[in-house]
Amino acid sequence: MNLLPTEEQQQIVDMVRGFLAASAPLERLRPDKFGQIGNPDAALWPKMAELGILGLGVPEDGGGLGLSAVEEALTYIEFGRALVSVGVLGATLGAHLAARTMPDIAAAIMAGTSAVGLATPRGAVAGDDGIFSSEFHLIEANEADFILLLSSDAIALFRREEFSRQSERLSMDSHMRLMRATLENGKPLSWSSVKDGIDHARANLLIAAYATGVAEAALAGAVDYAKVREQFGKPIGSFQAIKHKCADMAIAAEVASCQVAFASVTLSKNSDESRFHALASRIVAVDSALKNGATGIQVHGAIGFTAEVEAHLFVKRAHLIDFIGGDQRVQKGQFIGADAVI
């Protein structure tokens, strides 16, 4: 098994990275550029659609590019690195679900003309035979036509109107739009259970890949700063207390990226093992993102506590993605209940 990207895969990574560097540099999230509240990325979707990025892994006969989970995971690492709005997850997963039975909706999502918000449960979800009831958080739903619900048991695509009592909230990660909302016997357009199929594995894999990108970007920011910031006449990166923190961040990022790569290969082969490996990748990668986000602030000192550099953004985004579809506590409970794949 080769866990390094092929030449063609590397070209896709370079294309996405180049696009994001030009259209979504991290500096866009500084208070003097965008302000601190709201989604700065709404304008990206049509441009990403033009490049085919929103339907990258959707089969060709469903209107997508027909690439595999390996390419999808690689692009999601780039999304994480650039802290692209997590609304992108709604688009990718929504397009996958819609492409099977609702080609028009899938086409609108992949064209970037219909946005898909995310719904993530605030408590237990009652959902038998595809009828769902619970309290939810809606993420990036304000301009969305559709909502992708992700819980630890199911993944389902709804029209936004199915959610009642929508009320806005300010979020800890303020570079996005948050609401509370309710589903009462909500009927999805399409759904699948965690037990049948690969949709859930794909959701966990893409969350893991995004988290890996967050962990890598937090590492890169800390290392760059440790090379230039001087104290006591030396760059702080020459102090072992800082150097070893950076080394730990590098280890955490490598752990995440390797397991994401491995899980993406098993998913691309439709292997039975893919659910286990995708969940493992989610657990290690979200852990890495949380740790690197926190350590990155410490390496920066007081400037890391300000909104004027990016350091604080990573830990907040890490907390946000942790809760999408169930946090680490929920995921680990599910993972330890499952049979191992060795």
Partner: protein, 244 residues
């Protein structure tokens, strides 16, 4: 006392501590200084030495895992003569030879251990399910930690695949330290949780003990083949390019 190259032989005098399994070995790898004038990493040669050569004496060193356990030795060399033809690589170029063997020790040689540790975690999961009950485990702190360990040991296997993928292109370099540093600490966490699952009986050391000796042994994992601190120096300086 003569030292260094004499005719077509290397004459070795001195001692070396921490040689694993010297009391069991037929041969050993030896790094010896052959050019006393050269700076520290230069002037060293890598030679393979027959343990039966006259002038070699051992002092056994007992270790912490259990009374009487003998793992490594201090080895004394008095006028030990080794044929020059046993030098691997060039004379005085031993540091480079050692770095490539160490790259494998830190990287690919761990492969079998990775797989084995996956099975160790599953034995711990079984033991915890038996003692706590399968459904209680999902909400218990031990279950949460085991889930994390299971995910991490799965990831270590993926890290090994990546090292192997890289090794197909070039010999393992400094990045091998990423997996090595992670795995050595992971082994400690995995062995440590056994005591929490076993409970009070873990202060016993039964003859057929499968958990306590292996747990104590993991204290050496962050020391041997370069301590965790040295691995972090390597990662910081050679992988991340931080200043010395």
């Amino acid at each position: 006392m003569p030292r260094g190259i004499v005719g077509d032989e290397l004459v070795v005098n001195g001692s070396k501590i921490w040689t694993s399994s010297a009391h069991l070995a037929d041969w050993q790898e030896l790094l010896v200084r052959t050019d006393p004038a050269a700076p520290k990493h230069k002037g060293i040669s890598w030679v393979i030495c027959d343990m039966q050569t006259p002038g070699i004496e051992l002092r056994p060193i007992l270790i912490m895992t259990a009374p009487g356990h003998h793992h490594f030795n201090q080895v004394f060399y008095t006028d030990v003569r080794i044929p020059l033809s046993n030098v691997v690589g060039e004379v005085n170029d031993g540091w480079n030879v050692a770095m490539s063997t160490l790259g494998f020790e830190r990287g690919t040689a761990g492969m079998l251990e990775n797989i084995r540790y996956g099975a160790v975690v599953e034995r711990l999961v079984d033991m915890a399910r038996q003692r706590l009950g399968a459904s209680a485990l999902e909400n218990d702190d031990i279950g949460q930690r085991l889930a994390q360990l299971r995910a991490e040991v799965t990831a270590v296997r993926a890290m090994t695949y990546r090292i192997a993928s890289r090794a197909a292109i070039a010999p393992p370099g400094s990045e091998a330290s990423l997996a090595r540093a992670f795995f050595s600490q992971l082994q400690q966490r995995i062995r440590r949780i056994a005591l929490d699952i076993i409970g009070p009986d873990s202060i016993e050391l039964p003859e057929d003990d499968p958990w306590i000796r292996p747990y104590l042994r993991t204290y050496s994992n962050t020391i041997a083949a370069g301590t965790s601190e040295i691995q972090r120096n390597i990662i910081g300086e050679r992988v991340l390019g931080l200043p010395r």
